[in-house]
Amino acid sequence: MQERKLKGWAGIAVLCGLLGGSFPFASGEALGAANEVVVAGVLPLTGTNASWGIRNDRGIRYVVDWVNAHGGIKSLKGAKFKYVSADTETKADVAGSQTEKIVSENVSCVFGCNQSPGTLVASQVTERKGIPLISVSDYDPLITGRGFKYIFRTVPVMDKISTSVLVFAHAMNKSQDTKFTKVGILCEDSIVGDSAAKALEKHTKEMGYTVVDVVKYNAATTRDFSGVLSRYKAQGVELVVGHNRPADSIQIVRNMKEIGFNPVMIGGIGGGWVAPEFLRNLGPLAEGVIIASSETPDVKVGRFADLKKEYEEKYKEEMPSTFIGGISGTWLLYRAIEQCASADPKVIAKTLHSIEVKYGDGFYFQQFGCKFDEKGDNTLASAVIFQVQNNLRVSVFPAEFANHKPIWPKPAFK
């Protein structure tokens, strides 16, 4: 008797699920209607990477709204963008299942996932279905290393970005006639952190500098870096470099001050170093910190400055790199669709492989423009170095592009 009722409940649960799953079709939403191009964002809107995902989402929405307000997609007779978003909850498997759901809704292109494992899993789905996936923030080399035809990444691979801090240090050594060559690498143990550490170690050696130590710590459980940094201090490390998440980058700088460690350079690579929390929580302590990223906060190109003001007024925070990523990626897509005059994902993918978008065009603000190779890597993607000076981030390297002179060595903590 009890078992029968059970079966009944189980059956109801399954039916609910099926009904629930078919809601998009039943609800009458005209998805993929004739005058609409559906794009989707599979992003972490909750969970530990939520702060990246939310800002990326803002970026996509911004350009989508802009295009729709300015006559839509002209080559498609003014068709408008329709943006659908899904939350990955910063979990790789949820990223996968949400992508599955999204691609069953007639989508032309997907943006994702502000989390390398998530992007890896999601791209499997999009590749199987032949829908382009554009990543504007994930540095992991694996993402474009699988021979996929529908994956596109606008930011540089970790290799390129991480070397830029060392290249900067070398340039400073030469121009200021200093010889600071002892490198201490400190990265979190995520996929990106690991590839950063490897790339940094390799390039340090190639440059003839000394790798004093490489430490990869478990980001989930490490809260204090005094131990590691004390060791670096005792070992005479001069250049501290690494890829770390927000909490860690803040803590690293704080701990350095606490133990009286004043390295010549603190070189942060993307991640937490470019997050708004960094400056907000460190204030004057951050003075002189060097940061490598694929977006700079003070460029003088196109409508960047106006956009920056607009963002800061609306959201009361610095315009972050993930927002810039979001707008750049969406603009890129817009250009591609204008060019191929089609909402067919396969056609769009082909166009993405051939298109070239200039730096500063419309809303494309990731250095230095975009042109994909057959693996999906952006051959024009470069890292730039900026430095915190007077509580502002300013670009300092490469020289021909910089707006300010770099301070070298880093001023001591007060």
Binding site: E3, K7, G17, G21, K91, G96, S97, V121, D189, I191
Partner: protein
């Protein structure tokens, strides 16, 4: 009600399940596959918690061992996961056996046992993160291709049938244990361990057996996860999140029963998916509120429906058949 009528219901249900792939699109299939996978894992955890009365907080360990064993064997040595899955199960069973020996030898019980199993899972995760042979924190990416001989499929339906098979295995194992001598003794142990021991029941042996069987089956689920999601990392496989899912499904559905874990797990999976597909769910605030409601539901069920959802069918709330730990 006659047994034949009950059997007809089961047969009908089974037939529906078998034919579902014909009417479901890929997305729904994925939802079903994921849902059944967790239902299966809840059944596995139930063997230890519901039947043997041991509160294991470290079951992710066995799940992870299964996934990593078959994956590493495949990626490094080309061993087909059809075989690798059993090797994973074996390793997991051995781990369970060793842990049980330690636990029983030193008489670790109750919340201490729970924390000990959790500690083992955490230690393993720490080791895995530092072990380059299994790629450490970077994790392992499995190839996406159609290779049935290696348990890889481009279509979703084969995975569906595979997990259905596992689910059947889980149900069969649970049913078999329920009706067997092992089940009988486990019930005695769970009701009152000291009394059972005094009456001569070899409690240690049966507790170990339950743990080993559970670990073996959980590991099979781990390999399935790897073959389906195609990416594993120490954080995913040994982290606490999978443990939470196993626990919540089982406890809400009804620990110690045959269908309870399945029911609890499916309700969570499918209703969650339902909420996610409402147009409003695109707003992340609503997702967060939804989760808060889940938490309250969980607490509510524990308080007001102590036997789990399976007891909803009962008018009379009989004894609180909740397995205890000393």
């Amino acid at each position: 009600m006659s047994r034949t009528r009950k059997h007809y219901y089961y047969l009908g249900g089974a037939v529906i399940l078998l034919f579902l792939p014909l009417v479901m699109n890929d997305h729904l299939l994925t939802v079903a596959i994921t849902g059944f996978m967790w239902a299966y894992l809840c059944l596995c955890w139930n063997l230890v918690f519901g039947f043997a009365g041991q509160f294991s907080l470290g079951h992710a360990l066995f799940w992870g061992i299964g996934a990593y064993t078959s994956t590493v064997l495949f990626v490094n040595y080309g061993l087909t996961p059809w075989v690798g899955i059993f090797v994973g199960g074996l390793f997991s069973a051995i781990a369970a056996w060793l842990i049980s020996l330690v636990v029983l030898r030193y008489r670790v019980k109750g919340v201490y046992f729970a924390l000990m199993t959790l500690a083992f899972a955490e230690v393993f995760m720490g080791l895995a993160l530092n072990w380059d042979y299994i790629r450490g924190p970077v994790g392992i990416l499995l190839p996406m291709k159609n290779s049935p001989g290696n348990l890889f499929f481009m279509a979703r339906a084969p995975y569906y049938y595979f997990i259905l098979g596992l689910l059947g295995l889980g149900l069969g194992a649970t049913y078999g244990i329920q009706k067997s001598k092992l089940g009988y003794y486990l019930k005695a142990i769970r009701e009152d361990e000291e009394a059972a021991e005094v009456s001569g029941v070899p409690t240690s042996r049966y507790k170990i057996l339950a743990m080993v069987i559970s670990a073996f089956l959980t590991a099979l689920g781990g390999t399935f996860y790897a073959q389906f999601f195609l990416y594993i990392s120490p954080e995913i496989m040994f982290g606490f999140s999978s443990q939470m899912t196993m626990m919540i499904g089982t406890m809400v559905g009804g620990a110690g029963t045959l269908l309870g874990p399945v029911l609890g797990s499916l309700v969570f999976s499918f209703l969650g998916e339902l909420l996610r597909s409402l147009p409003l769910a695109h707003s992340r605030e609503l997702v967060t509120v939804e989760r808060m409601i889940w938490a309250l539901v969980l607490v509510g069920v524990i308080f007001y429906l102590p036997g789990g959802l399976v007891t909803l069918g009962n008018r009379v709330k009989s004894q609180r058949g909740k397995p205890g730990t000393s």
